[in-house]
Amino acid sequence: MLARGLYRVFQSAGLLLLISSLWFLALSLAPGDYFDEARLNPSTSAETIAKLRDTYGLSQPLPIRYGRWLRSLAHGDLGESIAYNQPVSKLLAPRIRNTLLLTGTALTLSWTLALALGVWAAAGRNRLADQALRGISGVLLATPELVVATLLVYWAATTGRLPAGGMMGEHGGGFRELAIHLALPAIVLTAMAFPVLFRHVRLAVSESLHEPFIRAAVALGISPARLWWQYILPAAANPLLSLFGLSLATLLSSSLVVEVIFGWPGLGPLFLESLFARDTYLLLAAVVLSSLFLLAGNLCADFLLLWNDPRIRKAG
């Protein structure tokens, strides 16, 4: 089991290296860099720009730049943002916290809802509710959240019931301010993640309900509580644990757009900004960090899978 776990960790690290290298290559091959715009300014001479590019190491050949970037990454140094003239790590820290707060809330909400409602719908006590939930998830799945989120911002701005964007009120933070600012983006993200999760939970639980060993357990007179917690749910858990990693990817991806729409000061807006400005090191750091989240989430899902399923444990 340990060997398998270690193998997965190394695999993830390799993948991280691959992703960051591809991004580095993409950014270096792309036309233009941060100082392109400065060149348009007549009061900045060509020598000044050349010197600036030297200072930030932009004039060196690609392999050397990449080597230097990797070396500093290994030392935990993410480089300097050219646009902000600050260490990247200092810029990213609060952004990461905010993104984690938003996606974490949405992740918790959507999984709680999907698990509760999915199990309830699969148990099949209430046909009407099952039908209704399936209908709702079908509608939510097809709803373009980009448009709905924009309309929500419009609604918030015109009615003033909820803040239309940002994270803090006039008088700074505080739990209440944070909660009302979090409400709209978290609801949109939850609504985006919920239908897929609900369908999978419902399917997995209803499949495990119809397994022969469940019927045998019922025939043996095992109490309903034990039946659910020790037989049905563990058997349904495997595909759902794998889904956890995937749901993280979609959530991270949609959170970028939602953050931009609601002006949530997370990684998303910074990412976009650095892409526009060609602020290479900031952009790379954002890519590496978001990939890190993703891989960490998938790794967690893998370890949970190992913990849950003795068959996988033995095979590994």
Partner: protein, 312 residues
Amino acid sequence: MNRLLTVAIIAACVLFSLAPVFAPYDQNEQHREEANRPPTRVEFRTAAGAPGWPFVTANGRQFPVRLFPRMRHVLGVPEPAHLFLFGTDEYGRDIFSRFLYGGRRSLLAGLLAALVAIVIGFTAGAAAGFKGGWLDSATMRCSELFLSLPLVYLLLAIRALMPLQVGEVGAIALVVAAAAVAGWPRPARLVRGVFLSAKERPYIAVARSLGATDAYLISRHILPQVRRLLWTQAATLLPQFMLVDVTLTFLGLGEGEPNATWGGMLTSLRHFSVLESHPGYWFEASLIGVVLFLFQFAADRHARNVVRTTIG
């Protein structure tokens, strides 16, 4: 329900693909005196209250709405009256016309993207399933990787390769490139499954023993089995990549002004000036949402029906 959806989808496709015909004005035509106008009132009753031919009032006079006023135009009113069905934006451009033109471009981008994803997906899936071996495992690992990556980040990575400003062609090429990277894995995996099971069947062995070539086997015996699957996948990919196009233009990474884009129209909803001067703008935004919803909803329903009828 299904028939209603089909009719709505076909109507939307016709309306958008023939945007220059159905739009009363060109997308970039400016009416400087008529900026930020609410929708033009089209009246169907005469002063006496009797129902009559629809007309528009301008400068105290009545102008009838004309059908086919000019070559290749369906609707219009004579000058000095205007026909702004959804009103005008801050440059005096007809929002209804821009909505149609924006739809045409998103539809085009989505169609091209779906086509490219299907072609790549079919080729990769067929090769993997038919040849097997290292090609199969390499294709499958690759598809797993691209399925697990977040789509928006992938999109931005491709975007980073391009110059900051892209034109109409560049913006659509971007959506197509996104489909080439992120759209192919799912069709490829499904096609591979069909090929894997088909190539072990006795009729394939018999055909091969009679001298059938690989190309013949694929086109004659296996392709008919995946055709329906490919259509279903295309139907799911189309709205997905229409939405990608809208998202890109919304984030300011696609085509910029002046041409109409749905993302650009949604962005303007976030400007305070629009809130102030154009309170009805939410309607256009919702309509964009409704169209995108219809395409996606119909595709989902279709996919479920196919699953139900094939599994039984």
